[in-house]
Amino acid sequence: MATQAIPGLYALARRLTDQSPEDLVQECLLRAFRAYGELADDAAGPAWLRRILVNAFRDRLRKEMRSVEEVSVEDVDEFSLYRTLAEEDPFPYSDTLHLDFLRAFGREDVRAVLLRLPVRYRAPLVLRYIEGFSTKEIARLLDEPLGTVLAQLHRGRKRFERELWDYANESGLLAKGAGR
């Protein structure tokens, strides 16, 4: 079971952190080995392992999540990627501007954008929209009140939009897309 789960666990670890994701998976496997008796049903194993990995991540970064600087609410909340794309029109010859913008990103670009987010926003975003955890479950896993998780998701989404735009500008993705 653990062997089959390794690719998924590693992918999750890489989205959550750029600091030794392999070590995080090892920590998860070690904890799972110690707690294996608690697993009543092997079919629940993959989800159980993902929760253990998130717990290990939470413990590792508890300090960082508490101390990360708040992003200015005004600064983040006023940004709209949809409107920015319409106004800046980076691909003037495109009939599907918004889609073309997203298509300019490769997988490693998306990961790089996610890793630009402060961890308190990145973790709920990854767990909700990539891993599919419910907001209640995320609150439990990260040991945060539900209201805090909902606020982090809200700001995380706005921040993700802004980082997509900034990354595309800084990395030359817009120039490549415009040349198509």
Binding site: A11, R14, F33, F105, R107, R157
Partner: protein, 82 residues
């Protein structure tokens, strides 16, 4: 459900689009956003983009494990006796 009160402004509707797609709004707030979308074409564009962005996030971040990392982690599992 038909919401009470006036139509919400675009800023408020756009603010809630992801929660709307997540079905994470109260029934009344959900209905308010829906009512706004029925009238506002621009916000329908925002909604469509929010939908695309969610799908993009879910699929574009998929990645593969490098063979050497997989081998090391499998070795670790074997050492643990799994």
């Amino acid at each position: 459900m038909t919401p009470n009160g006036p139509l919400i402004p675009c800023s408020e509707a756009v603010e809630r689009l992801w929660e709307y797609l997540d079905r994470a709004l109260s029934a009344e707030d959900h209905a308010r956003v829906e009512q706004h979308l029925a009238f506002c074409r621009r916000c329908c564009g925002e909604l469509e983009f929010a939908r695309e962005l969610r799908a993009f996030l879910a699929t574009a971040a998929a990645d593969e494990i490098p063979p050497d990392v997989r081998e090391r982690l499998q070795g670790f599992v074997r050492e643990l006796g799994g």
